[in-house]
């Protein structure tokens, strides 16, 4: 089945043998993106998070057919190393990464949060990211980075 996706502002068509295949595999395997990450396949950890029409969505449990024609933004779509998004720059400034495997989810979740709450408190940031897991224990830096980004963009 052919499915049209709008990813990072570009229209692409993929052929999905199984339309129920999670979006994550279309993004990673069909489109070769590295931002969204496989962490649990259960929607429990947040590593696979992308924006779908502006909302943070767990791509590992989102059937690809369900996002046909919707606007998908991945970590790559926010910005690049030479021209990072304010959140990405803030994560660099705060050195808010250890292994970084969860960081895609942290940034994408934060991007969604900042759309609805431009000046979140630390407590609101922590609540907003409560379902994003980090094992390295980089949480404090992540909170500082999101706070910093909110101060830049607000």
């Amino acid at each position: 089945m052919k499915i049209s996706l709008n990813v990072n502002g570009k229209s692409v068509t993929i052929t999905a043998a199984d339309p129920q295949m999670p979006l994550l595999y279309a993004l990673r395997d069909d489109l070769g993106l590295h931002g969204p990450r496989f962490g649990c396949g259960l929607g429990q950890c947040g590593a696979c998070t992308v924006l779908v029409d502006g909302s943070a969505v767990r791509s590992c449990v989102t059937p690809v057919v369900s996002v046909d024609s919707k606007k998908i933004v991945t970590l790559e779509g926010l910005g690049a190393a030479g021209k990072p998004h304010p959140l990405q720059q803030a994560f660099i400034d705060e050195q808010a990464v250890q292994c970084g495997y969860c960081i895609n989810g942290m940034i994408m979740q934060a991007a969604a949060l900042l759309q609805t709450n431009k000046k979140p408190t630390d407590q609101e940031i922590k609540a907003g990211l409560a379902e994003n897991l980090c094992r390295c224990g980089t949480h404090l830096r992540i909170v500082r980075a999101i706070k910093r980004a909110s101060e830049v963009t607000a």
């Binding site: 043998a17 199984d18 295949m21 999670p22 595999y25 990673r28 395997d29 993106l33 590295h34 931002g35 990450r37 496989f38 962490g39 649990c40 396949g41 259960l42 429990q44 950890c45 590593a47 991945t74 970590l75 790559e76 926010l78 910005g79 690049a80 190393a81 990072p84 990405q88 994560f91 660099i92 050195q95 990464v97 250890q98 292994c99 970084g100 495997y101 969860c102 960081i103 895609n104 940034i107 407590q123 940031i125 922590k126 609540a127 990211l129 409560a130 379902e131 994003n132 897991l133 980090c134 094992r135 390295c136 224990g137 980089t138 949480h139 404090l140 830096r141 992540i142 909170v143």
Partner: protein, 745 residues
């Protein structure tokens, strides 16, 4: 689709049919495009390069443009050591940091500097690189002076240019060595740069890897691909030691892009041309397994550990005669038993690897912390020569020890060998939680005797831990399942830090090495030292309370170590510690308290002290750690921001392990196989962390990846005691256990 059942035959990279090799059954269907086109050879092939630990060329190369390549056997597991190694080399060579590239963990290119574990990367691996760089620098200075026609003593080096110190024309490294070999033995006495001249080491340099990681441009192991690569998923046994009785993949064959299976012994994997096809097949294939229920009853785990056969006893520390001292008439005695639950590594990215065989040579890309050891293990499993196996490190999700990365690598290697095709194996979440090796259950008994002035007369501790086979390696799960040659699993050096830093007159510390443990044991961050320090520093707190002495004062009184005392005093100042003899009185539903713990890691290196502030809900038993204060002395600091990042991570991860984490299992297998059944700490419960770094630029740099974790559980336990009067002697401190301990008072 045509069904091919394999026959005995040699592996050939060009044949498109399938083989029964080494007893493995390989069945595939309609391979189609995946072998079309030219096969891609391992493209990292480099000219012959020494990997000898005593050769400068083992660690360093400088090209014609003066760019430096560092070959590091220690790998960056997300801890920032790639940047730290670059800093060390750039500093010692006096070249700008951006001219340095670090190649990590490639068995063809990097020296075997040992497993990346035990907080040894900087203190051992980094110092080997520093010494190689110092040797190179001295040689380049001599060569430069000779080329410039001046005395050796009159030249210096700056930004990779050797020039007269008085000024004048210089000559750059690229011209001096220009891609050639140093052909120099590392000089252990080569003069090191004076730390007062450092411009790169000791500075909070931004990590090299972070810009790509936050923009989705980083290639993790999980992103790595080979042309024509198949995707595989391993089909797990019903119980840990079940035997595969039958399997039927007829429904899989209806799935698009399904390829087939590889079966060897109890190892069963399904293959697909796409990742989703492999996943779908793993959920579709029908299997029958024998029953097995050989695990202990989890509700009686500690009785099981206590009754396990002891293979040998070992004194880890013996001072005076503790047994006699404990019998002293009229002495006040304190006894306690502690236990520490089984933990899983819990990497956010389940293990992943890619392997392929070309012309009989196996290349395996893995996020392994131990590529040199992995190479030997895979060679043993497949009865290959180690020289025919190359393992290349590609950074993955943080592993925090020996998790499933090596097993996934072995899965990929076996499937690649059996099919002759490049294969990517990605573990699913239930594979990682259910089948990675575990931190073993640990049980302790303590006794102490005090005189009427609060002096400790005798101290005795006993630990029950799984025995260590000769070789330091965890068996490859693949080899166990496939009945292929493998090692006995080694739990790591888990006896570390059970010996105590205090100057009691009579001390005996005993390890009861156990003949069995329920799960494949391995090292998880701060192996042994975490459990041992939980018990030691909790019991110190109990003894101090029995003596009626403030916990800080008690430690200072019983330490004969000025550096340790300085650290504790810095900690007390950081946290504004107020002396007290025992717990504070609680009021209302929430009790607040603070606790302290201290370690000199393995009694020979990094010093850490920590104070935890906690809130205990007396009704629910829920513990919230609100703040951690850490004082840290690891000698010379390479990168203070990287160090702080590690310390913060140690605290947060270990608060999680202390309050929440516990592997669950039934008699057949692990039952905590996802983040719902094995939860970890979430953002709202993360404590603030205040850090005091004690930098000693003229001392040896010691490790920092683990030591802070060691002091976290006891600091929390002692804080709960301070808040409530209840002693928490069993990790994790779940609300139910806290409630029960409060009720006991």
């Amino acid at each position: 689709m045509t069904r091919h059942i394999s026959e005995e035959g040699p592996i050939s990279a060009t044949r498109r049919d399938f083989f029964k090799t080494g007893g493995a059954l390989v069945v595939t269907y309609s391979l189609g495009a995946c072998t079309s086109g030219p096969r891609v050879a391992a493209d990292q092939v480099a000219p012959p390069k020494t990997v000898a630990l005593d050769q400068v060329d083992g660690f360093l190369a400088i090209d014609a443009k003066g760019r430096v390549t560092v070959y590091s056997g220690k790998v960056d597991l997300g801890t920032g050591i790639q940047t730290a190694m670059a800093q060390i080399a750039a500093e010692e060579l006096s070249v700008p940091l951006d001219r340095v590239t670090v190649i990590q963990g490639d068995t063809l290119l990097t020296p075997d500097q040992g497993v990346t574990f035990g907080s040894q990367s900087i203190q051992n691996g980094g110092m080997q690189i520093r010494q190689a760089a110092a040797t190179a620098r001295q040689a380049l200075l001599a060569e430069g002076a000779a080329k410039l026609g001046v005395e050796r003593g009159t030249v210096g080096v700056r930004d990779g240019v050797v020039a007269p110190k008085a000024g004048g024309k210089g000559i750059d490294y690229g011209t001096l060595i220009g891609g050639g070999n140093f052909r120099l033995t590392v000089d252990p006495k080569a003069t090191l740069k004076d730390p007062k001249d450092y411009t790169i080491v000791g500075k909070p340099i931004a990590r090299i890897d972070i810009p790509d990681k936050v923009t989705g441009r980083f290639t993790y192991m999980h992103d790595f691909k080979r042309k024509g690569m198949l995707h595989a998923r391993v089909v797990r046994p019903k119980a840990m030691e079940s035997t595969l009785q039958s399997w039927n993949d007829s429904d899989c064959r209806k799935l698009p892009d399904y390829v087939g299976v590889v079966k060897k012994g109890n190892f069963l994997a399904v293959l697909g041309r796409t990742e989703w096809a492999a996943i779908a097949a793993s959920r579709t294939i029908e299997t029958t397994w024998s029953d097995w229920a050989g695990l202990p009853d989890q509700s009686k785990l500690w009785e099981y550990v206590r009754s396990t056969k002891v293979s040998k006893d070992e004194d880890l520390q013996k001072v005076g005669d503790a047994a006699e001292a404990l019998k002293t008439a009229n002495a006040k005695t304190v006894t306690a038993s502690y236990n520490f639950a089984i933990h899983t590594h819990g990497s956010i990215g389940p293990s992943c690897a890619v392997a392929e065989i070309v012309n009989g040579e196996l290349t395996c890309w893995s996020a392994s912390q131990q590529t040199h050891l992995l190479r030997k293990q895979i060679a043993k499993m497949l009865s290959m020569r180690p020289d025919d196996v190359r393992c290349i490190y590609v950074e993955g999700a943080g592993c925090y020890g020996r998790n499933g990365h090596e097993d996934a690598a072995a899965d990929a290697a076996l499937i690649a060998r059996e099919t002759g095709l490049p294969v990517r194996v990605q573990w699913m979440r239930e594979d990682e939680h259910g089948w990675d090796p575990k931190g073993p259950p640990t049980l302790f008994d303590y006794q102490a005797a005090l005189d009427d002035k609060g002096n400790v007369l005798g101290w005795q501790s006993e630990v029950f831990i799984p025995d260590r086979p000769k070789d330091l390696a965890v068996a490859l799960l693949t080899a166990e399942l496939a009945n292929l040659p493998h090692e006995e699993s080694h739990p790591g050096n888990i006896q570390g830090s059970l010996a105590i830093p205090y100057t009691f007159p009579n001390i005996r510390v005993i390890a009861h090495w156990l003949a069995e443990t329920p799960f494949r044991p391995s090292w998880i961050r701060t192996p042994g030292r975490l459990q041992n320090t939980f018990a030691n520093e909790s019991f110190v707190d109990e003894v101090a309370a029995a003596a009626g002495v403030d916990p800080l004062e008690f430690r200072l009184k019983n330490l004969n170590d000025p550096r340790g005392a300085e650290l504790l005093e810095a900690l007390a100042k950081l946290a504004a510690w107020k002396p007290r003899a025992s717990q504070v009185a609680a009021s209302g539903d929430v009790a607040r308290g603070r606790g302290l713990a201290y370690i000199k890691y393995d009694l020979v290196r990094t010093y850490v002290g920590a104070i935890a502030d906690v809130e205990v809900n007396l009704k629910t038993g829920k513990v919230l750690v609100t703040k951690f204060y850490v004082a840290h002395d690891c000698g010379q600091i390479i990168n203070p921001d990287g160090l702080r990042n590690q310390i913060e991570g140690n605290v947060v991860q270990t608060v999680s392990r202390t309050l929440i984490e516990e592997l669950t299992f039934d008699r057949s297998r692990v039952t905590s196989v996802d983040w719902a059944s094995y939860p970890i700490l979430k953002f709202p419960e993360v404590p603030d962390v205040a850090v005091k770094l004690i930098d000693r630029p003229n001392e040896k740099p010691w490790g920092a990846g683990e030591p802070t974790s060691a002091v976290v559980p006891a600091a929390i336990a002692n804080a709960i005691y301070n808040a409530t009067g209840a002693r928490m002697r069993s990790v994790p401190f779940t609300p139910a256990k806290v409630q029960a301990a409060i009720k006991l008072m």
